[in-house]
């Protein structure tokens, strides 16, 4: 028998949420967010368990999980770097920032450094275009970036 992923606390948190909605399945996105918050990513097993909890099929859960950009269906590191590559950041030179990140960390988009320190991903417009280029690490926004500033910023994430 496969070991369960969702803890009693996860389940309590999700159950508390779906009472707020007229139908159970409406808590699907919130459920995925709770799993990701507590486990960093959403595994196949977690999808199955959430499906059971919300009386949905795993396929229905997965169609939602894979739709949204920020639900991670593969393991990610302790720190997730989101590089804005939308139009204003592109004009202001986000490609140089990305090149520097790739060479410094030795990874490409979608990859994680050894020992799980950083995962590198692209993200759609972060909505801070007057301070382009910008990246987001976890919940922190770093704006008006230059290649020179990157080392210091990365050093502050362990």
């Amino acid at each position: 028998m496969t070991e369960k992923i969702l803890t009693t606390e996860d389940i309590a948190e999700i159950e508390k949420l779906y009472q707020h909605f007229p139908i159970k399945s409406a808590a699907c996105i919130e459920g995925l967010k709770i799993i990701q918050k507590n486990h960093r990513w959403v595994s196949d097993q977690a999808v199955k368990e959430l499906a059971e909890l919300l009386s949905m099929s795993p396929a229905a859960i997965d169609s939602v999980a894979t739709y949204y950009n920020l639900i991670f269906r593969r393991p990610v590191g302790r720190n997730v770097i989101l590089v804005c590559d939308s139009v204003s950041c592109w004009i202001m030179g986000c490609e140089k920032i990305l090149e520097r990140l790739k060479s410094k960390l030795g990874i490409a988009y979608g990859e994680t450094t050894i020992e799980d320190r950083f995962t590198l991903l692209s993200v759609s417009c972060l909505g801070t275009c007057d301070h382009a280029p910008a990246i987001m690490i976890n919940e922190d926004l770093h704006r008006d970036l230059t290649v020179d500033k990157l080392d210091e910023i990365l050093d502050s994430y362990k």
């Binding site: 707020h20 909605f21 007229p22 139908i23 399945s25 409406a26 808590a27 699907c28 996105i29 919130e30 995925l32 967010k33 169609s63 939602v64 739709y67 949204y68 950009n69 920020l70 639900i71 989101l82 590559d85 939308s86 139009v87 204003s88 592109w90 004009i91 202001m92 993200v123 759609s124 417009c125 972060l126 909505g127 801070t128 275009c129 007057d130 301070h131 382009a132 987001m136 919940e139 926004l141």
Partner: protein
């Protein structure tokens, strides 16, 4: 101190903190709600309609007319929903962030008034995931509003009751489209829905629902306090109100400014944005986010309001301009945009799902020096293939706007890519 030329932003501090409930009340906050609760809902709808307030999310539909679509249904057992769309994801747009982070109570007050006008009993703020600071501001403000009796049962001693909940999205451009947003709120994939029925008839969980943009709702308390005539006179061209305009790209002072609706594009660019950065020349501009048509030098004197920008073949959109300079490749810029739209397409309808990646691929091959003579024809074909009416929602037609106008104004640059077998900017 009140600065009535800038009603939306007059109280916003510049220290990274938002107005607490106490601070907001001190500058007259929630007075409009109390006033509104003394009026009939239909009179509020009329006032907002007379003010000429148009949807600030980009579509520019009359807010009062939208509210008026809700049937005056005597059946109070049917829940009605009111939703604030704070899913700001249009590339190059950053205006709602400023209002959310600086004065969340202004939005909440506008939302409660809107909910009262349509007699909703449940409401949501749908916030994009990346706005963490705004999320904190809204969470705290909702708690304060409940504690003060502006939310919950019998608001401010009236018979009106309203619940408000914050939904933080997990990232998808499609969620900005109102019917897709409703699907996301129901926990589903954010595919758009067929219209009709419109959300005012069958919206969230099949119930009558109104969805309004953040900036739109932030205008509502001021309209209630100062009247429709006052609001109309704020603008330069009679469309009503001020607008949060912004600029990004190679300009001296990128930023955001609240100005009379109808301020000229030239004033935005040359005065407020400080003109082009040293060493860069103006080549073109997307006037209202990534899904609007390019404008060029000859258009700079246009009044930035809904009708005037439409007249010259583009859209006011979000009012945040993205400037293209002479050292940036227009084909590369359009490629960047089409890649974004291809990625964000929900895949529901064929023209968008297949056409956008095809378009992005061709633009990429032009950039890589592999362009063929026929590519310009194929790109032109795509702009017709994904024109309004051929797709399920407005995403793909929006995506075609920068492409069709780039083909019009920068055709030579497309041809140069093909003739020279390389991007001339690289």
């Amino acid at each position: 101190m009140n600065n009535m030329d800038k009603p939306l932003t007059q109280h916003i501090k510049n220290d990274g903190t938002w107005l607490t409930l106490r601070e907001y009340e001190k500058v007259g906050g929630y007075q409009a709600l109390k006033k509104a609760l003394q009026s009939e809902p239909k009179d509020i709808i009329k006032m907002v309609k007379d003010a000429g307030l148009k949807g600030r999310g980009g579509a520019g539909f009359s807010t009062g007319t939208k509210w008026g679509l809700i049937h005056e249904d005597p059946d109070t057992s049917i829940t009605r929903y009111f939703v604030a769309n704070a899913d700001e994801m249009e590339p190059g747009s950053f205006k709602d962030r400023f209002l959310l982070e600086g004065n969340p109570h202004q939005l909440i007050e506008g939302l409660i008034i809107g909910a009262y006008a349509i007699q909703a009993s449940f409401s949501y703020i749908f916030l994009r995931w990346a706005y963490h600071h705004a999320g904190k501001a809204i969470t705290q403000s909702i708690q304060e509003a409940y504690a003060a009796g502006y939310l919950g049962k019998n608001i401010a001693g009236s018979n009106f009751s309203l619940e408000l909940s914050l939904h933080i999205s997990v990232g998808r451009y499609m969620c900005g489209e109102e019917t897709a947003l409703l699907n996301a709120l129901e926990g589903k994939r954010a595919n758009p829905r067929a219209k009709p029925p419109y959300p005012s008839d069958s919206g969230l969980f099949g119930k009558p629902t109104i969805v309004n943009n953040v900036e739109t709702l932030c205008n509502v308390p001021n309209i209630i306090m100062n009247g429709a005539d006052w609001f109309v006179k704020l603008s330069k061209t009679g469309e009503g109100g001020t607008k949060l305009y912004g600029a990004s790209g190679r300009v001296k002072k990128p930023g955001l400014w609240e100005l009379p609706l109808g301020t000229s594009l030239r004033e935005l660019l040359e005065v407020h944005a400080g003109g082009m950065s040293d060493g860069y020349r103006f080549k073109g501009v997307l006037p209202g986010g990534g899904s609007t048509d390019f404008l060029v030098e000859e258009h700079l004197d246009v009044a930035m309001d809904y009708a005037s920008v439409m007249k010259i073949g583009s859209r006011l959109g979000t009012g945040t301009i993205i400037v293209l300079d002479d050292k940036t490749c227009p084909v590369g810029m359009v490629h960047n945009l089409e890649k974004f739209f291809a990625h964000e397409s929900c895949g529901w309808c064929t023209p968008c799902r297949e056409g956008l990646p095809w378009t992005a691929k061709i633009l990429n091959s032009l950039e890589q020096g592999n362009g063929k003579k026929d590519d310009i024809n194929i790109l032109t074909f795509q702009t017709h293939y994904m024109a309004p009416g051929n797709t399920f929602c407005a995403l793909a037609p929006g995506a075609m706007e920068p492409l069709q106008s780039a083909l019009k104004y920068f055709k030579e640059d497309f041809e140069n890519h093909i003739d020279q077998h390389k991007c001339p900017w690289k």
